[in-house]
Symmetry: C2
Subunit: 463 residues, 2 copies
């Protein structure tokens, strides 16, 4: 505890209460907890607490209440909205050590886990029982289930399998008032009272601290097949996507990469993406072997109507894996392209994909801002990636103006400013455009009854 950099009485009582091994307070130790995966936010917490029990959580809640501090529950900090960045007088409550599987129940196809377990560990545990946990956010290797619940995380399989919400059967939550409640159960149907569980999913740690999660698993698809199609323009690729959905074909993934993204991936970790094409669709079908073959055939037929430069079917699991690995490094590859890289997350109705993509191109030109786009296209979920530089004030201003215009256009098309990253700090300014004032007030009212003293992750989603 060498570099103790505060002397406040209140903090002393915190330090006195917890063993040294549970608390980080030195300036250097706090650095990794001062930001998340969003590029532009930074604020150091007062301390980081690794609670060892519910009692610890209750104690620190009470402490925060008495000392006008606040609590930020945090997993691995992979949030892309600033939801995991501390605000003034925050104690970070790190749940990463709560990473156990408490019960695997193959009779009910459920997993009871602690919130600090990684998404990948959950996927692996499911696989042990030949079961499947579909949500698959980009950061799945390190993102935690608690964080996934907080953001209602999605990933590449949303169009067929849905998002985190669809796999949460129940949860234990510590409320700001110190009550420990349990919501949900192992039943796949339950109409007993308001679905409070759904209120906490996607609430970004602003309503309660999730301490256990009961997850629903599903049968593991027997087989998968991956198909790659490259196109001469972004628009044609968008139109082909809309046509696939219109044909009521819902593959397990339908990803999009623009030329900039492809180029970056190929120079970062070559996977044989066709560099010369303007857009690539990467489509996975899974399920019964014959069903997969038929779906791939039907999808190919649709694709062919849109003049693809190439259609390539991965010949074996190794090739499939190669394509997916390449897709999964998209953000890391792009992150090397500029000093400050901002990943956005607008989502539009799937009939409006070409329109949205066209608008992004126009905006990129109009503001002279480089924007790469990759997308969970089958969900209508686009990730425009802004290549900026924090040291170039003028550029960053244009970046934010371009971003705002993209948000507003997505809303105009009946879309949302965030498909899976959440609102956090990054988008709270724009949420008011998506919600009418009455709807916006309702969000605040919900916060008010659950957290009247604004103890939990204040300043996120709204002020």
């Amino acid at each position: 505890m060498a570099s103790l950099n505060f002397s406040n009485e209140a903090l002393k009582s915190l330090i006195d209460h917890f063993p040294e091994s549970s608390l980080l307070i030195s300036k250097e130790d706090l650095i990794p907890y001062s930001f998340d995966a969003t590029a532009t936010f930074y604020h150091a917490p007062l301390a980081v607490l690794f609670p060892s029990s519910i009692e610890d959580i209750l104690w620190v809640l009470q402490w925060a209440k008495s000392n006008h501090a606040c609590i930020l529950p945090r997993g691995s900090g992979t949030s892309l909205s600033g939801a995991a960045v501390p605000q003034k007088n925050s104690i970070v409550l790190s749940m990463t050590k709560w990473n156990k599987i408490l019960e695997a129940d193959p009779y009910n196809l459920t997993l009871l886990v602690e919130p600090g377990i990684t998404t990948q560990a959950v996927q692996e545990e499911a696989a042990k029982f030949s079961l499947f946990y579909p949500p698959d956010p980009g950061s799945y290797k390190i993102s935690t289930i608690g964080g996934n619940v907080g953001h209602n995380s999605g990933g590449i399989r949303g169009l067929k399998y849905g998002v985190t919400r669809n796999y949460v059967l129940g949860m234990e939550v510590v409320l700001p008032n110190g009550q420990v409640i349990w919501l949900g159960n192992k039943c796949v149907k339950d109409s007993a009272g308001y679905s409070l569980k759904d209120l906490f999913i996607g609430s970004e740690g602003t309503l309660g601290i999730v301490t256990k999660v009961l997850l629903r698993l599903i049968p593991k698809p027997q087989e998968r097949q991956v198909i790659l199609a490259s196109f001469p323009t972004l628009e044609v690729a968008s139109e082909a996507t809309s046509a696939i959905i219109k044909a009521a074909l819902i593959p397990s993934a339908l990803e999009f990469l623009d030329q900039k993204t492809i180029e970056c991936i190929e120079s970062y970790s070559p996977a044989g993406f066709p560099k010369e094409s303007q857009a690539v669709l990467l489509i996975e079908s899974d399920g019964h072997p014959q069903a997969v073959r038929d779906e791939i055939t039907r999808i190919s037929q649709v694709l062919k109507q849109y003049g693809p430069l190439e259609i390539r079917i991965a010949e074996n699991p190794k090739q499939q894996e190669q394509l997916w690995s390449a897709r999964k490094v998209a953000f890391s590859a792009l992150a090397r392209k500029a000093p400050t890289v901002l990943l956005e997350d607008v989502t539009v109705p799937r009939s409006s994909l070409a329109q949205m993509i066209r608008k992004i191109q126009q905006i990129s030109k109009a503001y002279a801002v480089e924007i790469a786009v990759y997308a969970h296209m089958g969900d209508g979920n686009l990730h425009p990636v802004f290549l900026g530089d924090e040291k170039n004030k003028d550029l960053m201003e244009r970046v934010f103006r371009a971003m705002k215009e993209i948000f507003l256009y997505a809303i105009k098309l009946g879309g949302t400013i965030t498909g899976e990253h959440g609102v956090g700090l990054a988008k709270k300014e724009f949420l008011a455009y998506q919600y009418k004032s009455e709807e916006f007030q309702l969000l605040k009212n919900i916060k008010k009854i659950l957290d009247p003293e604004n103890l939990l992750n204040p300043g996120k989603i709204f002020d």
Copy 2:
């Protein structure tokens, strides 16, 4: 307006405001709106209003507020929990004339409908586009989407396809304070703020008046196959069900009928159910033709391990339809067996089915109450049917004691008092057993912020 049976000033202002064709006030006209499909509740409303616009709804809300009356939004009144039975000083707001399809969007696989449209009409509209709306409550021919949303209705396809909640993308709601809000959008992913939409789904008309619903449709399964298996005991059939789930086989329906139910169906509308067996499982697989064949084979293999008396695969669509029609008349058939028939709705984790069924048998004997059981077994959702007689006070007392014991046992097994019928009046007494007092208080707090004056369907879910 012959038999005007009230003279109250307030009601006069209501009558003066609306055209005669929009308002029912005569004693006889109010009778059909004084009960729902639950056998034991009856209370006449003050009047029934058929609003012709949002303005009408706003007017009557204001009127109710000024006159200490309350509003009960109502579809077809097929609720099985008393949720659609008026309480004191209620105006029934009948939404049945709001039954239009406002937009079918095959590009986004969505339907925008008015709340008074029937579930069947939605299913039929979806079918026109070769799409599928899976929720399928027993009353689908007349139940409305608004009612389905209010109860988060399920039906026979819950295990594979989920319930109403899984198909509601958005809704327009009139709040008790007169605000008209829109929640959700056509995007299949949305992480922008708390999921208020999910709060209204299953809220039984206590939080807002749903005036539009945006539904999600999915591709229509290509083929279906139905298999019937009969068993010598209820328990073996339950164990076979648990074994199917444990084998990660999730067919599109897995229904259960006990011997009493079979007997009634056969004498009401003969379908060739094997009368001599104690329990029948009716299982449907749907999807890709080859996948269906393989699933049926694997399910048969599991069933055979539990010593079935018979396994029968429907040979053609006509036979399939016959079996399903017979299953769907189960409640009507049982309703003829006694003067007062109460249909219950407990749900348990699917590993506990045999235990629950055994307990129901014991309780039936202990209280000398005839209880038939049919079930959405694959969901763990049991419908014990109590054969009672309102004129026999002693019998009815035993019926309610037996019922309570079944509820408590379901809760003990980690289940719920209602899988799909909702709480309404019938179960509010028992909800407090399922929720801890803090959780229960939270439900009430939600009601309080949305409906501080208790204008909407008061006395339902909780007091």
